[in-house]
C-alpha cells in the first residue's frame, strides 16, 4: 500500500479495514496490500475527479472481486446555489442563472423557466409566433448537440474514441449555429419571459439549411460505426437494465423511460410552445438497456432534424415578425444591433428613448433596474429536455424577483437509478449504465 497521505482528505481513520490512498502508478503495491488482507470485499471511491464518471460525480462502490455488490452516488460537488441566487435577481435576470444549470441543454432550462413565468404573468397566449418557433428551433438543435455529447462521451468511456471525436465535431457545428443566433456557444440567456432576446441574424436560415444537409450525411456515420459493431454491442447489450415499473417508481423520464417501449414524450403528450403543430415521432426501443438508449438518442437526432427543418420553413415566412411580446410593461426594452464597436443597443433605440419619448425612457429604466412584477402564485410547466422531464417550480410573492425557483432536473432524478442499474454487474458496466442515464452534474447539483 502507499504511505502517501492525502492532504485534502479529512481523515484516513475508519472503523473497518485498511485505507489505501491511490495516487496513480501504484497498482502493484495496492494489489499486494489487498492480498495481505485476504478479503475480496473492497469499497472503492470512484470520483469525484474521475474521467469516466461523466462530471464531478462520486461513486461509492462495494466490490467483491470485480462484481459490484452495492453502488451509491455522492453528489453536490457542483452545487453553486443557483436557485438561491435567482431569488436575488429580477425575473428576467433569472434566465442568466438557470441557463447554467444543465449546461448541455441550456435552452431547455431557459424554456421551462420562461414558460413558468409566462403562466404566472398570464401571457401564455400573447407570445409572438416567431418567438415560439425560434424557441422550438433552438431547443431541437440543443437536443441534437446534447445527444451528440452523450453519445460521444459515452463512447469515449468505453474506449470508442472515434465516436468521441466525430461526436464533438458535429456538436461544434451546432454550437456555431448557437453562436450565430444568440452570440454565445453556451449559457445563452436568450429566451426571456415574453419571447426571445433577439431576432434571427441575416443569413441564419441559410446556415441552418446547410447544417441540416450536412447532418443528414454525418448522422449515418454514427449508425455505421456503432449499430452493429460487435464490440460496441458487447459492452452495451443488456447493461443498465431498468424496466417500466422501475422507471415509474424511480421517477425516470426521457430516453431511459422510452427504452422500455413506453412512448412518453412531453412534446407529444402535453405540448408546449406549439409542438403540436410539428410532425415528428416519439422514438422507443424495447430492450430496457443501454443499447436501446443509444439507439433512441440516435434516432431522436433525426426527429429533431425534422422539427428543425419545419421550424426553418416557418421562420422563412415570418421575416420581420416580432420576437418579443407587445406588452411594453414586460417586453425587454433594448434593441440590439451591430455597431462600429460591436454589438450594443441600437442607435435608433437610443435616439428614441433619449430624444423622442420620455415614456420610453422611463420604461427602459424601470424595466432594466427594477424589472416587472409577477402576480402571486406558483406554476410548474415542464418541458421534454434531452434527459427527460425538466420543470421549473416558480413561486411569486408579487415582487420583481422570484420568491422561489426550484428546478426538477431530470439528471438529478434519473441518477437515482444508478444503484438498481449497476448492482450485481461488473465494475466496467457501472460506467456504461451511468453513461446511458446521461447525467449532467451541473443540472444534478444546480
Amino acid at each position: 500500500m502507499t504511505t502517501t497521505q492525502d492532504p485534502y482528505a479529512a481523515s484516513n481513520e475508519t472503523s473497518q479495514g485498511r485505507v489505501f490512498t491511490v495516487t496513480g502508478q501504484d497498482w502493484d503495491s495496492i494489489a499486494e496490500g489487498l492480498a495481505d488482507e485476504g478479503d475480496d470485499r473492497v469499497v472503492v471511491n470512484m470520483g469525484p475527479q474521475h474521467p469516466s464518471t461523466h462530471g464531478v460525480l462520486r461513486l461509492i462502490l462495494e466490490l467483491e472481486g470485480e462484481s459490484v455488490t452495492e453502488a451509491r452516488c455522492g453528489i453536490g460537488y457542483l452545487h453553486t446555489g443557483i436557485e438561491k441566487n435567482m431569488e436575488f435577481r429580477t425575473w428576467t435576470q433569472g434566465v442568466t442563472f438557470c441557463t447554467r444549470m444543465d449546461y448541455l441543454a441550456p435552452f431547455h432550462n431557459e424554456l421551462t423557466y420562461c414558460l413558468g413565468v409566462e403562466r404566472l404573468l398570464d401571457i401564455e397566449d400573447q407570445i409572438p409566433e416567431k418567438a415560439q418557433v425560434m424557441r422550438v428551433l433552438l431547443s431541437e438543435l440543443n437536443r441534437i448537440s446534447s445527444h451528440l455529447v452523450c453519445i460521444a462521451t459515452g463512447g469515449m468511456e468505453i474506449g470508442a474514441l472515434t465516436v468521441m471525436t466525430i461526436g464533438f465535431r458535429e456538436r461544434e457545428l451546432t454550437l456555431d449555429l448557437f453562436e450565430l443566433i444568440t452570440g454565445l456557444r453556451m449559457n445563452h440567456a436568450f429566451f426571456r419571459p415574453g419571447g426571445v432576446a433577439q431576432d434571427l441574424p441575416p443569413g441564419a436560415l441559410d446556415q441552418i439549411r446547410d447544417y441540416i444537409a450536412l447532418m443528414k450525411k454525418r448522422l449515418p456515420e454514427y449508425a455505421a460505426f456503432c449499430n452493429a459493431n460487435p464490440i460496441f454491442r458487447g459492452r452495451l447489450d443488456g447493461v443498465g437494465y431498468l424496466d417500466l415499473a422501475g422507471c415509474l417508481a424511480l421517477g425516470i423520464t426521457g430516453p431511459v423511460l422510452r427504452s422500455t417501449g413506453y412512448p412518453w414524450d412531453l412534446r407529444k403528450s402535453q405540448p408546449y410552445s406549439g409542438y403540436e403543430d410539428y410532425e415528428f415521432d416519439v422514438v422507443t426501443w424495447d430492450t430496457c438497456d443501454s443499447y436501446g438508449r443509444f439507439r433512441i438518442r440516435l434516432e431522436e437526432m433525426w426527429q429533431s432534424l425534422r422539427i428543425v427543418e419545419q421550424a426553418a420553413d416557418r421562420l422563412a415566412e415570418l421575416e420581420g415578425a416580432p420576437v418579443m411580446i407587445g406588452d411594453k410593461k414586460i417586453a425587454w426594452p433594448s434593441q440590439l444591433a451591430i455597431g462600429s464597436d460591436g454589438m450594443g443597443n441600437s442607435l435608433d433605440h437610443i435616439r428614441h428613448i433619449m430624444g423622442e419619448s420620455m415614456e420610453a425612457l422611463i420604461h427602459h429604466f424601470k424595466l432594466v433596474t427594477e424589472g416587472f412584477r409577477v402576480p402571486t402564485g406558483q406554476a410548474y410547466v415542464p418541458v421534454e429536455s434531452p434527459r427527460g422531464e425538466l420543470g421549473a417550480h416558480v413561486v411569486s410573492d408579487g415582487g420583481t424577483r422570484p420568491f422561489r425557483a426550484h428546478f426538477r432536473d431530470p439528471s438529478f432524478t434519473n441518477l437515482q437509478a444508478t444503484s438498481v442499474m449497476s448492482e450485481g454487474g461488473m465494475v466496467a458496466d457501472v460506467i456504461v449504465a451511468i453513461a446511458s442515464i446521461d447525467p449532467v452534474m451541473g443540472g444534478v447539483d444546480r
Binding site: E87, P375, Q378, G398, G399, F403, Q416
Partner: protein, 224 residues
C-alpha cells in the same frame, strides 16, 4: 410601472390568503413611498365546482382520502393544488398512486418553499404529481410550522422522493419522518444551517470596479 397599492388577485380564486406584508418600495426608500404597506396575497382556496377534469379528480380523491385530509383546493392559472394536512399525507399519496380513477404513477419531485411570515405554517413541501394514464398533473402542498418541521416521508409510495426529500431537508430543514436515510445531499455533511431558508443570507463580498464599490447582491437595493 406604477405602484399599485393592491396586488392583482386571481379572478378565479374566491378566497385569498395573506402570507406576508411588504413595506415601502425598496430598502432605504426616501421617495415618499416609504409608508406603502402591501399584503402578499396568495391565491386562496376555491369552492367547487372547478370545471373540466378538476372536479373528477377532486371527487375521486375526496372519496378515498381520509376525513379532513384535504385542507383546501386552489385553482390558479389552470393548475390545481391540493393542500393536504400532513398527518394524512401518506394515505393520500398511496391512494393517489393506486386508485383506478386517479393513477398518479409518477412523482415529479418535491420542492420546498419557506414563507417566514406565514405564521404556524412557515414551511411548505410541494409535490408535483403526474398521471400518465390520464395525462393529468396535480400539485400537493403540505405545510409544517418552523417549530415542528416534520412531514411524513412518501418514499415508501414513491421511491423517487428519496433524493428530493433529502434535498428539501438539506435546504429547508424539513424533517421527513420515515425517510430511510435523511442526510444532506448537496451541502457538505457538516454544514450548519439550511441555505434556501429566507433567514439564511445569500452571502458574497463587495466588488470594486473602477473606483466604485458594488455591494453583494443581498445587500443591494431591492424592490419589494
Amino acid at each position: 410601472m406604477t405602484d399599485e397599492p393592491n396586488l392583482p388577485i386571481a379572478a378565479e380564486a374566491a378566497q385569498t390568503e395573506v402570507v406576508g406584508v411588504k413595506h415601502g418600495m425598496y430598502g432605504g426608500d426616501t421617495s415618499g413611498y416609504g409608508g406603502l404597506v402591501r399584503p402578499v396575497v396568495m391565491p386562496g382556496g376555491t369552492p367547487p365546482p372547478y370545471g373540466g377534469w378538476f372536479d373528477e379528480v377532486h371527487g375521486a380523491l375526496a372519496e378515498v382520502a381520509p376525513e379532513g385530509a384535504i385542507e383546501k383546493v386552489v385553482i390558479h392559472r389552470g393548475e390545481i393544488t391540493f393542500f393536504i394536512r400532513r398527518q394524512h399525507l401518506l394515505e393520500v399519496a398511496q391512494r393517489l398512486r393506486d386508485d383506478e380513477s386517479l393513477r398518479y404513477e409518477l412523482l415529479s419531485g418535491v420542492s420546498g418553499v419557506h414563507y417566514p411570515d406565514d405564521q404556524g405554517r412557515e414551511l411548505h413541501a410541494v409535490y408535483h404529481l403526474l398521471s400518465m394514464t390520464h395525462n393529468r398533473r396535480i400539485r400537493l402542498e403540505v405545510t409544517a410550522p418552523d417549530s415542528d418541521p416534520h412531514i411524513p416521508s412518501v418514499v415508501a409510495t414513491y421511491p423517487t422522493a428519496d433524493w428530493h426529500e433529502r434535498e428539501t431537508y438539506d435546504f429547508f430543514g424539513i424533517i421527513f419522518d420515515g425517510h430511510p436515510a435523511l442526510t444532506r445531499i448537496m451541502m457538505p455533511d457538516d454544514w450548519p444551517g439550511h441555505p434556501q431558508r429566507k433567514d439564511y443570507p445569500l452571502g458574497g463580498i463587495p466588488v470594486e470596479y473602477k473606483g466604485a464599490t458594488i455591494p453583494p447582491p443581498d445587500t443591494r437595493r431591492s424592490y419589494s
